[in-house]
């Protein structure tokens, strides 16, 4: 097995740290460039929430102090970096005084679950279909049907979500309209709860699957075309190996490698797409948390959620970059 040179790991680690650092800094800087004063927003909400705000000057000063807004910018920034590194995102301003980290911890498993399930399904279906499009022995019907289905590729998941929701929830009441599990089900490790989660997750997952498998199919098609003409494929055929064996062991196996890198990058895009799907289906993951926070301009939550999503993406890319040379010995680093 190839060994990964330390320099390569260091390089990747550097990019990882830089990504997270730049993203976190952007998230910190942008709200501070804004003309909107978070304390004003909070006060406005308090006033709207009922009652008079008697001594608004004093309250503002106190809020500023408790959010650390009275300190010099550089101190604020350093504190932010220090807190973010320890996953301390402060307190939510909208649902004061719940810690943002706690809200994220509650939402994260739903998002990761939905994402992993839909990603794995699309990866398998998409790559298989893409390979079959090129394979000379696949039935003719498939070669016509797949490109027809492919038009979904270019549609953003939110639109497929709307369509599925309309057909299978609104018109045909087969699936629930919103939520991640039934209202009358107690969350816990029960079969009933698991069933409810799967049932509620089906449409959101499908809305991601039908629009993303085409991406994999198209990529795989291109890769398979190159593999098709390679000497080892020709040799395998000449040896008289079984057709299916050649397809899986020679062609797909070699063609799929670049797709694995794409898999990691796709995690990032999927998270963003999933924010929207979760919003439409009111699925209680990170997307809904983010959406609800935008509605009430709850900046600590917006920052926290964005940071965690970016961290997840960056980690996924980092891991795949490390694993990749292990599965593809042709890749040599630093050479």
């Amino acid at each position: 097995m190839t060994r990964i040179p330390l320099g390569y790991i260091g390089n990747r680690l550097f990019t990882l740290a830089l990504t997270v650092f730049i993203a976190a800094t952007l998230i910190w800087i942008i709200p501070r460039l804004s003309p909107v004063d978070p304390v004003d927003v909070m006060l406005g909400r308090m006033a709207a929430g009922g009652g008079t705000v008697a001594d608004s000057e004093a309250i503002m000063a106190q809020l500023r102090e408790s959010f650390g807004l009275d300190r010099p910018l550089i101190v604020q920034y350093l504190l932010y970096v220090k807190n973010t590194v320890t996953f301390d995102f402060g307190l939510s301003t909208a649902s004061f005084p719940t810690p943002v980290a706690e809200m994220i911890a509650r939402a994260l498993p739903w998002t990761v679950g939905l994402m992993m399930v839909s990603l794995i399904i699309t990866f398998i279906i998409g790559n298989l279909l893409g390979a079959l499009m090129v394979w000379e022995h696949s039935p003719g019907l498939l070669k016509v049907a797949i490109p027809a289905v492919m038009i979904f590729t270019s549609i953003p998941p939110i639109l497929s979500g709307l369509l599925l929701m309309y057909v299978f929830s609104s018109q045909l009441p087969w699936f629930p309209l919103t939520g991640a599990y039934g209202l009358n089900v107690e969350p816990g490790w029960s079969l009933e709860f698991a069933g409810s989660v799967l049932y509620h997750g089906f449409l959101p997952a499908m809305s991601i699957v039908i629009v993303t498998f085409g991406f994999w199919a198209l990529g795989m098609r291109g890769l398979m075309i190159t593999v098709q003409g390679e000497d080892y494929t020709v040799l395998a055929k000449a040896k008289g190996l079984k057709k299916r064996y050649i397809l899986y062991q020679y062609m797909i196996r070699n063609a799929i490698l670049p797709q694995i890198t794409a898999f990691a990058l796709k995690i990032g895009m999927l998270v963003a797409g999933q924010v929207l799907v979760e919003r439409i289906f009111s699925y209680n993951g990170m997307g809904k948390l983010l959406y609800d926070a935008i509605l009430v301009q709850d900046f600590p939550v917006i920052q926290g959620v964005s940071f965690v999503i970016i961290l997840m993406t960056a980690l996924a890319v980092f891991l795949v970059d490390l694993i990749y040379p292990l599965i593809d010995p042709r890749i040599r680093h630093g050479g």
């Binding site: 550097f14 990019t15 830089l18 990504t19 730049i22 993203a23 952007l26 998230i27 942008i30 709200p31 460039l33 804004s34 003309p35 909107v36 499009m133 090129v134 492919m150 038009i151 590729t153 270019s154 549609i155 953003p156 939110i158 639109l159 709307l162 369509l163 929701m165 309309y166 609104s170 309209l177 291109g222 075309i225 990058l265 990032g268 895009m269 998270v271 963003a272 797409g273 924010v275 929207l276 919003r279 439409i280 983010l290 959406y291 926070a293 935008i294 509605l295 301009q297 900046f299 917006i302 920052q303 964005s306 999503i309 970016i310 993406t313 960056a314 890319v317």
Partner: protein
């Protein structure tokens, strides 16, 4: 096969087959896109926009007696129906579709120019410059654009279509940069570049007169792909209720529909038609991209 035996029709077919630019995917895709642009341009001329639009480009609530046409399914006066405040959906699409395309094309153009500049710099200068640009593009690929845009939007409230395009452009320069860098590296030693250098051509001349034309087919593909990405990102923002607040876009119409409970009240035309138009737009872009792929890569053409 001898020429004599061919009918005129067969010859015509042969010619058509020989010219890669007459690729059916390319033609269909361009046709769909031109159709959408025509809808935006001609729609304003032929459709009575005054009924539902004020000068500011934002729909108003229509004339007196509007109550009867609120949330109505298609009629002769409003073929695509109306929303709950009586706005004509067709009129919204006529204004919204060009706006959505504008954001996508502008973001992609800016991203492209950045990509060409950075790609050439990385490929030609190499060394430190190359390292910085490569790490920068690695970093930007990891950050989901939607998130940064969400933060910008939440912080600033309203933004213009152009500002949104500018922001999105910050996320679509990596693929042209990589493409150009790779091509520049492999083309640097090509015969015609060496020739140009020997004949005393300036670096600028080599870059833009000798190398760039060869990259055009790839750049077109990258451009179209970026238009799609930009529109998807913009629609995503709009459906979250962010993006420009005072200009209708396709995503904005869908947002209004979802927010007013159109899904539950079975007002399918409200979100359905903008969705279909978006889908047509994306399919058009995809077909153009696939078509360009086949034009520039003869290996794909046989399939």
């Amino acid at each position: 096969m001898s020429d004599v035996a061919m009918t005129r029709r067969q010859k015509r077919r042969m010619r058509r087959f020989d010219n890669p630019w007459l690729n059916p995917k390319l033609i269909w895709g361009l046709g769909l896109l031109l159709g959408i642009i025509a809808l935006g341009l001609l729609g304003r001329v032929f459709w009575d926009m005054d009924l539902v639009f004020t000068g500011a480009g934002m729909p108003r609530q229509g004339p007196v007696g509007i109550e009867n046409i609120r949330g109505q399914v298609g009629t002769l006066a409003h073929p695509l129906g109306t929303d709950v405040s009586g706005k004509d959906i067709l009129a919204l699409l006529i204004v919204g579709a060009p706006n959505s395309l504008y954001v996508g094309v502008l973001a992609s153009l800016i991203g492209m120019s950045l990509g060409i500049f950075l790609g050439f710099s990385a490929g030609f200068l190499g060394g430190r410059t190359d390292d910085v640009i490569r790490v920068g593009s690695d970093v930007m690929i990891t950050i989901p654009p939607l998130l940064i845009l969400v933060v910008v939007q939440a912080a600033f409230g309203d933004i213009s279509l152009t500002l949104m395009a500018l922001l999105i452009a910050g996320f679509v320069w990596q693929s042209p940069t990589r493409l150009i860098r790779a091509q520049v590296l492999s083309m640097r030693e090509a015969g015609y570049v060496q020739m140009a250098r020997l004949s005393g051509a300036s670096t600028f001349h080599i870059m833009f007169r000798e190398m760039l034309p060869n990259l055009v087919p790839y750049l077109f593909g990258s451009f179209i792909a970026n238009v799609t990405t930009s529109i998807v990102t913009a629609v995503g923002l709009e459906v979250l209720g962010l993006g420009p607040q005072r200009v209708p876009t396709l995503g904005r119409v869908i947002y209004d529909a979802i927010n007013s409970g159109a899904l539950i009240q079975n007002m399918w035309w409200w979100w359905g038609f903008p969705t279909i138009l978006l889908a047509v737009m994306f399919i058009g872009l995809l077909l153009v991209n696939l078509g360009l792929d086949e034009v520039s890569n003869p290996r794909l053409r046989r399939l």
